[in-house]
Amino acid sequence: MAMPPDSTTLVLAAISAWLLIGALGIAALRKLRFVSRVLFPAGAAVGVGLAVAAFVAIGAPPQVAVLPLGLPDLPFHVRVDALSAYFLVLLGAAGAAISWFSAGYFRSSEGTPPGLICFQYHVFLAAMAFVLIADDAYAFMVAWEAMALASYFLVTTEHRIPEIRRAGFLYLLIAHVGAIAILLCFGVLQGGGGDYTFGAMRAVTLPAAWASVAFFLALFGFGAKAGLLPLHVWLPEAHPAAPSPVSALMSGVMLKTAIYGLLRVAFDLLHLQLWWWGAIALSLGLVTALFGVIFAAAQTDMKRLLAYSSIENIGIIVAGIGLAILYKAYDKPLLAAIALTAVLYHALNHAFFKSLLFLATGSVLHATKERSLGRLGGLIHRMPWVAWLALVGTLAIAGLPPLNGFVSEWLLLQAFLFTPTLPQSFVNMLVSIAAAALVLAAALAAYVMVKFYGVVFLGRPREPSLAYAKDAGKYERAALAALALGCVLLGVFPGVVIGALDPVNLLLVGHSTGEAAGDWLLLAPFGEDRSSYSAVIVLVVIVAVVLVTMQVVHRYYHGRVRHADPWDCGHPLQTPRMQDTAEGFGQPVRQVFEPFFRIERHLPSPFDDKPRYWLKPSDPWWHWIYLPIARAAEFAARFVGLIQQGRISVYLTYSFVTLLALLFFVR
């Protein structure tokens, strides 16, 4: 038996290992040292193993297995194909780094015992992995719910704080609204055959109308998990509430399971794609992206800011999916493959840089006990490790060459730009306007990230207590460094990843991006004469110019430096509070997009000797959708409340009447 174990076995082994680690966590409920020094690192090792096994499996043919679990005649089916494997790589790699970080992060002071956190955390990981390999609707929904529940408990780790309980409840509510839509979607997909395995769904050919219903149910359901408009409201609430590694895991990985689900339904389970699905997904994605980034610019809480930035990135990803559907529907497989490559690449990139930034905020939070941007600043001096590693993430998320965020945006723009004239002129114009919107969102993202980084890490400390902030411990540093390295490598060697993505493209759109795209040095999906990009060369040239300039300047002139106080512009009293606050830095964007905001302003009184101006932008969607729904529900409830009498005999009468009515009808 020299055969290597097949990929399903390996993935299942990883899942079992995570569950086992979780169980051990329960056994060692309050042994912080054991949990953080043994169990979390072990989880990280499992993650690395999973990533490696899944990376091998991307190129392999699909593997299936039936588990002797589940209901008696409804076993769990699992399947590892290229798409699952790709997302498993994402999960394993990002999960490993986050686990390693968690080893140094969790302290005994969290509201929940460390062993329990360890249990919930690893169940969460295992459930996400199981979502990715489930091959029937039943297993998928069980894993999906396990994922939602585990993450709910993780979000409410500090459940003694009422706002956190509220945020957790909101998350759970929207997750379940989404889950219902997904369930209905599977109901439509099985096409009346009663067989809920994905294999059976692939075999069913749905009429266009039902396929559309299924697609939009999936878009709604998975959109709720991913944070698409208007179901995004839980993200900015849940992320600040959750401990940072959990935020990182949710934002970096869990949102991607929703993207996985959408891709699975739209390209694998459904056979036809209609162009207007693509147009709608494209528009929705771009509106989400613009909304997310505009609101991110106005935020004053660092984790909330990152949460809105996640909404933006998810919007870009969904827009890319819409574009891929559009091209697939118009039978342009190469363009569809490139759009899809951009989507998958951006999902991976986002997993890396967003995890990195969330973890960095975790370190900042631990060091300063402060989440509000208005009370931070100057941390690059106190926490150089975190600051410099976070700089990599900041530059990457701002979409700057030669890091990874730029690569996926570049690919997506290429897919937008090389639209050969599509049959409908309307769609043509939509695509070009969409490209403009995408570029605008990307440029705003740079604004947001400069604000984030500048206010947190640069400048002078806004509070005296920040002088005692300590840099992160060695576990945290190592995890941040790993993620930052991932950002750089993904940015500098995109050809390797894109080459590995070929099987996924073949699976989903039936076309690969071709030879030209997979060169390690040069990225040229349409051929060198049309467009090409090489991050390696850009990086090398910039670094070379920087080094040569430094040498030349220092040799021919000198390197003398004198230190002095900052120039005060003739105004002797310059305090750290004169720097821009987060509110101040976001002000231009707020002013430009004034009509979209609902802002609660607090103007200090002129007699206040420690005045502090703050404002709280509230999400307009609350006022547009959620509050009306809540009011309607309350209104309806008042009528229902009329039947509440409080006397047992009345209730018994209700039951009796119901029984009689049922007997009458069922007769």
């Binding site: 700057l400 043509n428 070009s432 640069l458 120039w567 512009c569 821009d580 101040g584």
Partner: protein, 316 residues
């Protein structure tokens, strides 16, 4: 990629580095003439840069290494950009590594670094400048990209040399979309190079500064590098504009050294005309309030989008 191509690449980069301060000097001279002042010498920017290199750098005591690294990064990014933009010949090996989108990315890289460095010291004016710079940037960058997209829709390529090849060496055709894009590009270049009506490069009033406010803390060699990088940025933008809208005179290929040698005076003449036009625009217009800037740049962005739509509709 041949040795000749590499050589022409280096010649072009060296020419950009050498000519960039001259262009700034020329624009300043024209501005002075147009406003009836006696003009500073043409070589003043060179002397300023040299003088700054000689001085001791004064760095704020709470500056982080990021602050001292930034001038080099900005300079490096601008050099990279100068290596992509075809000013003399279209055979640029480095342009394979970075196309028009990457060019905009390089500009953004420089902008982000300089804004971060401005926030590093933690003075009121530094953060104000950083905020305004990013504010101008987030509207100007998409507009620039849309202009480049319009050009690349015409040529079917995002690689700048092939765009220029297509525009310069094809039978004469007028592209209305390029006319719209040209207007948008002019507006963007004014904003991006800190020119009137969006910013004023000569201002010494802190409240109205954008670009200069970010540089308040810089001195000596750091300031010299940033000034040089700004000059390179102006040079790059001018060359992009000339290459897209007046592409004649740029040599095709790198074997024909005569053509490249001929391209140098043509380039200088075109830059002189462009610089004069810039000075005219600057002299004739007044600086806007900062909150009129989004209107100005929003218009540029929409015009660029319009150019793309016109290109799609008319196919021209």
């Amino acid at each position: 990629m041949t040795a000749a191509a590499l050589l022409s690449q280096f010649v072009q980069l060296a020419l950009a580095l050498a000519l960039a301060p001259l262009l700034v000097g020329w624009v300043n001279q024209c501005r002075a003439w147009l406003s009836n002042r006696s003009a500073p010498p043409l070589t003043l920017p060179y002397r300023t840069i040299r003088k700054l290199f000689m001085k001791d750098a004064v760095v704020a005591s709470n500056a982080s290494p990021l602050f001292r690294l930034t001038p080099y990064v900005v300079f490096g990014a601008m050099c990279c950009a100068a290596a992509i933009v075809p000013s003399l010949a279209t055979d640029l090996p480095f342009a394979l590594a970075a196309d028009a989108i990457a060019l905009v990315g390089l500009f953004a890289l420089a902008r982000v670094f300089i804004a971060l460095a401005a926030m590093d010291i933690g003075t009121a004016f530094g953060t104000l400048g950083a905020r305004r710079e990013m504010f101008v940037g987030f509207l100007a960058e998409p507009a620039l990209l849309m202009v480049l997209f319009t050009a690349s829709l015409i040529s079917g390529s995002t690689s700048l040399p092939s765009i220029v090849d297509t525009l310069a060496h094809r039978e004469l055709a007028i592209y209305p979309s390029l006319a719209l894009a040209g207007v948008a590009f002019t507006m963007v270049s004014l904003a991006e190079n800190a020119r009137i009506p969006v910013d004023n490069p000569a201002t010494h009033l802190e409240l109205t500064m954008i670009h200069e406010a970010m540089l308040l803390e810089y001195s000596a060699r750091h300031l010299a590098l940033i000034e040089w990088a700004s000059a390179l940025k102006l040079f790059n933008y001018s060359c992009i504009g000339l290459a897209l809208f007046f592409p004649f005179g740029i040599a095709q290929g790198s074997d024909d050294w005569l053509a490249i040698a001929l391209a140098v005076p043509v380039l200088v003449a075109k830059l002189a005309a462009g610089g004069f036009a810039l000075a005219v625009i600057e002299t004739a217009s007044a600086k806007m309030r900062i909150f009129r800037a989004p209107e100005f740049l929003g218009t540029a962005f929409l015009l660029a989008v319009l150019a793309m739509l016109v290109r799609l509709l008319l196919g021209s």
